[in-house]
Symmetry: C2
Subunit: 117 residues, 2 copies
Amino acid sequence: MVLLSMATDPLGLTFSALADPTRRAIVARLAQGEATVSQLAEPFDMSSPAVSKHLKVLERAGLVEKGREAQFRPRRLKPEPLRDLSGWLESYRQFWDAKFDSLDAYLKEIQNKDTPQ
Amino acid sequence: MVLLSMATDPLGLTFSALADPTRRAIVARLAQGEATVSQLAEPFDMSSPAVSKHLKVLERAGLVEKGREAQFRPRRLKPEPLRDLSGWLESYRQFWDAKFDSLDAYLKEIQNKDTPQ
DNA sequence: TGGTTACTTAACCTAATGGTTAGGTACGGG
DNA sequence: CCCGTACCTAACCATTAGGTTAAGTAACCA
């Protein structure tokens, strides 16, 4: 059921891939250009199999693509899932766009003056 | 560690809240106006405690707010996390924006000339 | 050819997720 | 005041997620 829905729910795959901070850091790194697994693993205090697993999750979501060059398997970022995510978000623009809820925006203005949060 | 990072990682909370299709459906429903728990539960083939749990996840992410009116606890959608998500996405616009693709390819060309290791 | 580097796979562990049922609490109506 | 409706909490269960170590494959290098 989860298995099934996940397999047929690309948006869900994307969201859950990006839910992990390690994976978002990998995405951030790959946004600056392709990188090998070792390079991607270097900043993290975790084993390389763990990084491999994270990469597999990103690949399953279509966010990352694996290349092969000699003994290296360079990864690069793929734009499509991010584009899809943006499309989904866009359908809620009326909610997070300040113009929509002027009262909400106004309250927030006030609040932002000294919100400790 | 997961506990800790999640507590201090609002973006991660948002992504994982939205990873579940039931929760995205709830968000879609709430985008049309506030609704009670029973109203939200109605379309789903699952117990109401299950729906309550989903709502708690959405609330923890700040996506949903709980009101109280007599015996009802109407939920409404909050825009902030969606706005934050949009901000995060925006920082990757260069990747999913089609116009940028050719430049991206060009940068990759250059980079491959002297990639160490 | 044998060692080293790069990476993956397998087996395992713990904790979180997503569901259940059963048993609360709180409110409004007859 | 009691009953039904609305909702939440607790306890439990199965599966998934995220990490580990150990062992495997593959390519380069001396």
